[in-house]
């Protein structure tokens, strides 16, 4: 860092955050309010003022200009501690009114996941915040394609299973455990929400960085010879990173 840092009043940098995507299949406020109540089970701090992306992709028909009461919509989400900061997949005609609300418009696409988001058959509910799990199971996100450098996958609230390699410069994150049935060469962060029981598994362990519940280790000098490129399990034993070979008969 520059020696002049103390004299700079402001620095602008590129940063990434983890956000929640709220997929709105319906724009009716009463319906959305009912869905939010059902999802949170009435718990006031179910969400923690998370950055929220309002995604109008699933809404059919697409909302018409002027049809959405933005202040009420934003207030509704905020009342459940979801903080809308940006909008995605809304028709271009709405851009002006979206920006007037102080919301950004997100044009970036997420990396493809193994299967398309399932049509959500939730009774009476239409808004489904959260990641789009690629598998039918709600206990793990499964990704079949390789994760290339610069890509990031985050499995919120569940385990992450990767059938393809994770290349150097890629980042895979899960609140649960991470299972890689292929080479793991990038960064893997398990137990991202603080779960110290989470583990990381790989059939060919060559990770750049591994972390469990925030306790991390890098491999500046490479992995220990008896573990490098072998099936390895990473876990926390009393706040220390433990690396063990997985015996495969």
């Amino acid at each position: 860092m520059s020696k002049n840092q103390a004299s700079k009043p402001l620095e602008i940098k590129i940063s990434t955050v983890v956000a929640v995507a709220a997929l709105l299949g319906d724009t009716d406020l009463a319906t959305l309010a009912a869905s939010l109540k059902q999802i949170t089970g009435g718990t006031p701090d179910y969400f923690e003022d998370d950055f929220t992306l309002l995604d109008f992709g699933p809404a059919t028909p697409a909302p018409a200009p002027g049809s959405i009461d933005w202040p009420k919509l934003i207030a509704l989400f905020r009342s459940y501690r979801l903080n809308p900061v940006a909008v995605r997949n809304a028709p271009a005609a709405l851009d002006g009114e979206i920006r007037q609300q102080g919301l950004s418009i997100d044009t970036m696409q997420q990396p493809r996941q193994a299967e398309p988001a399932p049509a959500v058959p939730v009774p009476a509910a239409a808004a489904v915040p959260g990641p789009r799990p690629a598998s039918a199971s709600t206990t793990a996100m499964v990704i079949d394609t390789p994760v290339r450098g610069g890509q990031r996958i985050y499995a919120r609230g569940c385990d992450l299973i990767l059938m393809g390699m994770v290349n150097p410069g890629a980042e895979v994150i899960a609140d649960g455990s991470i299972h890689v049935y292929a080479p793991l060469r990038g960064r893997a962060l398990a137990g991202a929400g603080g779960n110290a029981q989470a583990r990381i598994f790989s059939l060919t362990m060559e990770a750049e960085l591994i972390s469990i519940a925030g306790i991390y280790r890098t491999f500046d000098e490479g992995w220990p010879k008896d573990l490098a490129k072998k099936p390895v399990q990473v876990r926390l034993i009393e706040d220390r990173i433990d690396l063990t070979a997985i015996a495969i008969k």
């Binding site: 696409q109 394609t145 290339r148 450098g149 610069g150 890509q151 150097p168 060469r185």
Partner: protein, 271 residues
């Protein structure tokens, strides 16, 4: 139905333009009506490599801004029948490129019965590179057998996965091909250079071919004559193999192995 093929790499200086020029020429030599487009706005050099820089009147930005028609901008190559070049602008910058404009040009090229449309991408992952790959049906990832090139190629593969039209529309994904360029089998043997197998191990996409490091490439670009036209040279043969393999022929991989010269040649050639 026309095929749109992007030639990209992420890393600069690995041989994208050299390869676009020779690959497009190779397809044209086989009788296919081919267009090659330069997406490197502001730093154009496809026209130099193709030898048509003095015939550039209108460029891609002129066509996008409707200042000229596509027919006026396309330059007929003097080395091959069937080959046309659409140069980039030298004076504008990449902000002049628009997705809608590029799409319109590609649709018009398809309507003109072009069989192959080669998009020569600039280095990097910014607008020019992204627009070059957006409409691609297939991608040729040009990679040097060297770590930073492999990393950048991996990155661009991820971007193709995320930002191509095919990915965004949920269609069949872009077909990826690996082209290893500037290969020196002797250095691979000596452990100084990654082997093509090492590169494939990391990128895991099918190998389209290997282009050996060669002095002919520099001569070719100085003369404005794509390397594939230097008959008998190793590079020319390698590019011809690439075109053949692309069109479905089963050709053995050449220029991959180092053959130690016999004792007498070593004594007298001193190499």
């Amino acid at each position: 139905m026309a095929k749109i093929i992007v030639v990209t790499s992420g890393k600069g200086g690995v041989g994208k333009t050299t390869s676009s020029a020779s690959f497009a020429s190779g397809l044209a030599l086989r009788g296919h009506k081919t267009a090659v487009l330069d997406f490197d706005v502001g730093l154009r050099n496809l026209d130099l490599i193709m030898g048509c820089e003095r015939r550039v009147v209108y460029d891609m930005i002129n066509v996008i801004n409707r200042e000229a028609s596509l027919t006026q901008a396309l330059i007929k190559d003097k080395h091959c029948e069937n080959l046309y070049v659409l140069p980039a602008s030298q004076t504008r910058d990449k902000d002049a490129l628009s997705e809608e404009g590029v799409e319109r040009i590609l649709e018009e090229l398809k309507a003109m019965d072009f069989e192959f449309i080669i998009c020569d991408s600039p280095a990097g992952i910014e607008r020019g590179a992204v627009l070059a790959l957006t409409f691609a049906d297939e991608a040729i990832i040009v990679t040097n057998p060297e770590v930073s090139s492999v990393r950048d190629s991996d990155r661009i593969l991820g971007i193709i996965q995320a930002k191509s039209r095919r990915a965004q529309d949920g269609n069949e994904p872009v077909k990826e091909h690996l082209l290893v360029t500037r290969y020196v089998p002797k250095r691979v043997d000596a452990g100084e250079m990654l082997s093509h197998q090492d590169v494939q191990e990391i990128l895991r996409i099918p190998l389209l071919g290997i282009i050996p490091e060669s002095e002919s490439v520099l001569h070719a670009s100085n003369q404005g004559n794509p390397a594939i036209h230097i008959d008998g040279s190793d590079v020319s043969e390698a590019y011809k193999d690439v075109v053949g393999r692309f069109l479905g022929e089963d050709l053995p991989l050449r220029f991959a192995d180092y053959e130690k010269p016999g004792l007498l040649s070593r004594l007298f050639k001193g190499k």
